[in-house]
């Protein structure tokens, strides 16, 4: 079975990732950092299920979206330190 891919941009980089994965996973796949905490520490997904809010990113201009709760869509614009 050949996996279809989706094209999106993450922090301005154009990337191809497998269809059906979460935005959080796409960020990890391309090796981009996640958010910084309010005192500037680097953070990354913790719970994987939408309750910890450590994976928040900006998607298509809207900030504070949980990346583990969204599946990648073609053309999505994702920014990780919004």
């Amino acid at each position: 079975m050949k996996m279809s891919t989706v094209r999106l941009t993450i922090n301005g980089l154009r990337v191809h990732v497998p269809a059906g994965i979460s935005v959080a996973t796409a960020i990890a796949l391309v090796g981009q950092p996640f958010r910084h905490s309010v005192t500037g520490e680097p953070r990354a997904p913790l719970c994987g299920m939408g309750v910890c809010f450590e994976c928040r990113v900006r998607i298509d201009g809207v900030a504070q979206q949980r990346a583990c709760q969204r599946v990648v869509n073609p053309g999505m614009r994702v920014e990780t330190d919004g």
Binding site: R43, L46, G48, F53, R56, Q69
Partner: protein, 431 residues
């Protein structure tokens, strides 16, 4: 105008799916809601690489595929009003009136703080499993799994199937407790078979009991962990560290609805009667929201709740099955009870509130959760105290206070949405 339906089921895990199917099969119009992009809940979470097990696909087809069921995926319940819910999906907010409600909101992981737990690469155990199923890159990664309970095995197996090198599973409970639990498993043959399968699959992975991760280390991400156990302290190198201390019921929606809760250890679960009725009229609850009980318990409770919400008779056999499944849960709780030292891993400098970066030392001096919140911002952030609240309760700093709306961070447009929309608009909306 608010569009109505007979029964709203919140949560499309094993409990919610069973409830929706049972109610729909009695001719009720059911709306099934789940915030995740796909049905299945935690245990049947869709795996981007391996799909879903047959039993999950069957349960999903039986519920979401039923002509009487409208399934709204990627939709979150965010607030309640008398007789109606406020919902939002990625695009919009809308109201939904209900005749009866089944809460099948499941559980989340109990995550306890220890030095280094905020480093990227440190996740929950179930958290790692969930991320793996979303496609998280694990191939060739050294993964250390720790915490407590059977979920550690499930997480390890998933990680391994995704190509991870699992360097060890560290269970905090002592060997004798774990052996007693295993020795009692014959009473639940299904569980025994499942445990045996997992053990075989993980035969090459070292399993340690009485062993605790005390610290995670690394510069920009985790690179190793200190483990304390029978053989003293050792440092284990890893690329990912997954630590989960079991589960706690998600009762926030029940709380907003005014349903009575009862204690489950240091946490709370929804109080239900023999037919899964909560203390609020026409509100039922099923599955792990009513106490951690595992998948079999969730399915049978969902079935009972669906029948009861539909006003149908509940066969005695179902009630007996539920009670047997609940007995399994009690055995789990007893044997995997947390040892005191896991509550003492965090020091005064350890971050407890990850949203607002508040240290344990800052909140320790306050005796009252509300006072601590006003003085330190602990629990004021986006997770609304879900992570730090559970941890503080487990650490003995008192229970969390009442729940204020919204249930999850919610677009202001949704909260400002006039009471007009109708659920029929959303039929056929499947992204």
């Amino acid at each position: 105008m608010v569009d109505a339906c007979d029964i709203v089921v919140v949560g499309a895990g094993p409990a919610g799916l069973a409830a929706a199917e049972a109610a729909a099969s009695h001719g009720k119009r059911v709306v099934l809601i789940d915030s995740q992009p796909r049905a299945g809940g935690q245990v049947w979470r869709h795996d981007a690489l391996h799909g879903q097990p047959r039993v999950a696909m069957d349960a999903i087809r039986a519920a979401a595929g039923n002509a009487n069921v409208t399934y709204l995926e990627g939709t979150q319940v965010v607030a309640v009003e008398p007789e109606r819910l406020l919902l939002q999906d990625a695009r919009r907010g809308f109201h939904l009136a209900y005749g009866a409600l089944v809460l099948a909101t499941g559980a989340r992981e109990l995550l306890l703080p220890f030095p280094g737990w905020t480093l990227p690469g440190v996740t929950g155990a179930g958290g790692l499993q969930a991320l793996a199923k979303q496609g998280w890159p694990l191939r060739g990664k050294r993964v250390l799994i720790a915490g407590s309970g059977p979920l550690l095995f499930a997480a390890a197996a998933t990680a391994q199937r995704h190509g991870a090198h699992v360097v060890g599973i560290h269970e905090q409970a002592g060997a004798s407790a774990v052996h007693r639990f295993a020795a009692g498993l014959w009473r639940w043959p299904g569980k025994l078979a499942q445990a045996a399968r997992l053990r075989l699959e993980l035969a090459r992975v070292p399993y340690r009991t009485g062993s605790i991760v005390t610290t995670a280390e690394g510069d920009h991400g985790v690179s190793g962990a200190h483990v304390r156990g029978g053989q003293g302290d050792e440092r284990i190198e890893c690329d990912l560290l997954a630590v989960g201390y079991g589960l706690l019921p998600q009762v926030e929606l029940a709380q907003l609805l005014g349903c009575a809760l009862e204690p489950e250890g240091a946490h709370a679960r929804v109080q239900v009667g023999p037919w899964q009725a909560t203390s609020q009229p026409r509100v039922f609850a099923a599955g792990e929201a009513c106490g951690i009980g595992g998948i079999d318990c969730a399915r049978v409770e969902g079935h009972i709740a669906g029948l009861a919400a539909a006003g149908a008779a509940v066969p005695r056999a179902l009630v007996q099955r539920r009670d047997r499944a609940r007995a399994f849960a009690a055995s789990l709780r007893q044997h995997f009870a947390l040892r005191d030292d896991v509550r003492g891993l965090a020091n005064d400098d350890t971050t407890i509130c990850r949203c607002e970066d508040v240290s344990l030392g800052a909140v320790r001096t306050h005796t009252d959760a509300r006072e601590a919140k006003l003085a330190t911002r602990c629990g004021m952030g986006a997770c609304q105290g879900r992570i730090c609240g559970g941890a503080l309760a487990e650490l003995g700093h008192g229970p969390r206070g009442g729940m204020r709306p919204p249930l999850f961070p919610t677009r202001l447009a949704t909260l400002g949405e006039p009471v007009l929309s109708s659920v029929s608009d959303t039929r056929g909306y499947t992204p």
